[in-house]
């Protein structure tokens, strides 16, 4: 019997990635240059922050649309409340409401990957040739994000929130792997700490809905509810903590840049077929309660079912085809 093979981990050479400046600026690399994750590619002036105030701001006297304010200076009053400039910037009117835009500063575009410069698009972006380990997740929100990955050491649920609170200064703007299950309360704590995105093995559907409503990136590796993360995937994540990663929510892929190209052996042993013959010893992902999301090894094969051995159980368990996928 052949069953589908879930390709959760894909090794890629000769991947082309475009890195773009947020505004027109100037690039400092040329075609053929070798780069590393912290190599500077270019610089542009951009505003990092924007505060939306509203239509009913009473601007202080002698100031108007386009005026410059220093940090701490009074902008005006809104509903009888003083509004103070949180940073140096400009007051502007956009779509009938007042916004306060931070003074543009230098934004240095970093490579984020190891590789070579393949092409340059004048003043705008750089095309890099690189290599990566791609991890496919099964469901998530649809944004594309990139940032530093922080991996918690697969803790118990109760410890995750402690980790988040203890590391609060170090996880803002980063992507966090929180373990096999993302609870609603952990999601709220992570969001309040300003994380850029959250990866987990599983979460309740309602938690994913919350993430969508609040435009917070969440990716689930296995499915909904309390499920397992394949040990190979956790092993890879653990080995790349603090690495700059890229996530494409639409394609459902977490892209981890790596320093060296993969050998031909590694690329070629990646299964060409999407199906795998079921036999004793192969690893399978179980989709049958109460073992949903767990990985085990095939112990025996019958006509309509497979006996799977899980690490924590002595006796093999009968799993019916098609409630199983090869990994």
């Amino acid at each position: 019997m052949y069953i589908p093979l879930v390709k959760k981990i894909i090794y890629k050479n000769d991947l082309l990635i475009e890195r773009s400046l947020p505004e027109k600026g100037s690039l400092v690399v040329k075609v053929g240059d070798k780069v590393e994750p912290f190599s500077k590619l270019g610089v542009a002036k951009t505003s990092y922050e924007k505060l939306i105030i509203g239509p009913d701001l009473k601007v202080v006297k002698h100031k108007k649309d386009g005026s410059y304010f220093y940090t701490g200076e009074k902008l005006g009053t809104y509903n009888f409340t003083r509004v103070i400039a949180p940073y140096h910037g400009y007051l502007k009117q956009e779509n009938d409401q007042y916004v306060f835009i931070q003074e543009p500063r230098d934004y240095w575009l970093l490579s984020g990957v190891w590789g070579t410069v393949e092409n340059i698009y004048k003043d705008n972006s750089v095309l890099l040739r690189t290599q990566s380990v791609d991890i496919n997740f099964v469901v998530g929100t649809s944004q594309s994000i990139s940032g530093e990955l922080v991996v918690f050491p697969n803790p118990d649920e109760e410890l995750v929130e402690q980790y988040l609170n203890n590391l609060s200064k170090n996880i803002s703007g980063k992507v966090v792997y929180v373990g096999e299950f993302l609870s609603e309360s952990t999601f709220k704590v992570a969001r309040s700490q300003g994380v850029l995105g959250i990866i987990a093995g599983g979460a309740d559907k309602l938690t994913l809905n919350l993430a969508k409503e609040s435009s917070t990136f969440v990716a689930l590796i296995t499915g909904f509810g309390k499920v397992s993360v394949p040990s190979q995937i956790f092993g890879i994540l653990q080995s790349v903590t603090n690495r700059y990663v890229m996530i494409d929510g639409e394609e459902r892929v977490l892209r981890i840049p790596v320093p060296e190209k993969f050998s031909d052996d590694v690329i070629q042993t990646q299964a060409a077929s999407s199906l795998k013959f079921v036999k004793k010893g192969i690893e399978v992902l179980t989709l049958q309660k109460p073992y949903f999301g767990k990985i085990g090894k095939v112990d025996r094969v019958t006509e309509s079912s497979i006996l799977v051995k899980f690490p924590e159980k002595e006796e093999p368990v009968e799993i019916f085809i098609p409630n199983v996928l090869a990994v």
């Binding site: 909904f224 509810g225 989709l287």
Partner: protein, 331 residues
């Protein structure tokens, strides 16, 4: 040239090879994906299993809402609801976990309100891993509830046409169990008399597609070995049926409201009956036997305000018992 008719269901793939002499061979694969690599690999499996080369056949493809595999360059590539809406002399009902497609239309209006977090997770996983079959009766009941309460207008057979229950739900998930039989009865809500036939191999979509493509395949459907369950009489509120057997015996059945009653009648047996349905005039009918027999359903399925999850849960034990007793004689 032989014909290969493929149905990409919502949780499995079925294929029917029709040779030039009208002999047939069937293939079924219990997984589904829109991925081109997956489809190519499954086609290779089908070729090996059926002993054919797809490029030497007239390839026909269907699915719902849109079939996969257009890159295979089939001769006919058409959505299932268009196939279902044609006149074939029978009334097809294709049921999957989330949709019902019939000659009258299609619907997949899933109501996720009033269910627990675990149930929401379970159903959401079923969207991600569409091939999964339930191994627990309670879980199967919950999944069936997604389509059980679709409006009666979705399944509107007329008495003269046999109703063929087909689709992924009645293929691999069918385990000769009370839940499956209950769903079959629940999907046909309109009062009346119907011959109910079960397609346990999910091949009706392939057969209908072939007939849609070429009328010469019409006899194939008529002669195909489906499972004739018997005659269903929907009579909400109660019924009285006077059955006269060919051997001169007769029986009066009085079935109260909210019941399922099954009288074993073997396949091939035809009996005359006088039927008095609640709110209808007395009618003379011919009843045809089947693997279950005569099924009298007096539940108020055609009233959406009454036919609710609570109504079913309150009476489920009694109905399951009636169905399980019938299953003891089911072949």
């Amino acid at each position: 040239m032989p014909t290969l008719s493929i149905f990409f269901g919502s949780s499995e793939i079925s294929a029917l090879f029709i040779d030039e002499d009208y002999s047939t061979r069937a293939f079924n694969y219990p997984y589904i994906s829109s991925n081109e690599g997956f489809i190519r690999d499954v086609c290779k499996l089908a070729e090996k299993d059926l002993g054919v080369n797809i490029s030497n056949t007239e390839l026909l493809v269907t699915g719902f809402p849109k079939p996969y595999g257009e890159f295979l360059n089939p001769k006919l590539f058409i959505s299932l609801e268009k196939v279902a809406s044609r006149e074939f002399g029978f009334y097809p009902v294709y049921t999957s976990n989330f949709t019902v497609v019939s000659k009258s239309g299609y619907s997949s209006n899933i109501d996720l309100s009033n269910i627990t977090t675990d149930e929401v997770n379970s159903l959401s996983n079923l969207v991600l891993y569409r091939q999964v079959i339930q191994t627990d009766n309670f879980d199967q009941f919950n999944v069936d509830n997604l389509v059980r309460f679709l409006p009666e207008s979705i399944v509107k057979p007329i008495s003269e046409e046999p109703v063929i229950m087909s689709g992924d739900r009645f293929s691999r998930s069918f385990k000769r169990d009370a839940n499956s039989l209950l769903l079959i009865l629940d999907l046909i809500k309109i009062p009346g008399k119907y011959q109910v036939i079960l397609d346990k191999n999910n091949l009706l979509p392939c057969l209908s597609l072939a007939y849609y493509y070429d009328g010469r395949f019409g006899n194939l459907i008529k002669s195909f070995k489906f499972d004739d369950l018997g005659t269903l009489i929907n009579s909400p509120g109660g019924a009285e049926i006077y059955v006269s057997g060919n051997d001169g015996t007769s029986q009066l059945l009085q079935v109260e409201s909210d019941k399922i009653f099954i009288l074993p009648m073997a396949a091939g047996v035809v009996s005359k009956a006088t039927v008095k349905r609640q709110g209808a005039s007395t009618q003379e009918m011919l009843l045809r036997g089947g693997s279950l027999g005569l099924i009298v359903d007096t539940r108020i399925k055609n009233n959406a305000k009454i036919f609710t999850k609570d109504y079913i849960e309150d009476n489920l034990k009694v109905w399951h018992k009636a169905l399980e007793e019938a299953l003891c004689t089911y072949h």
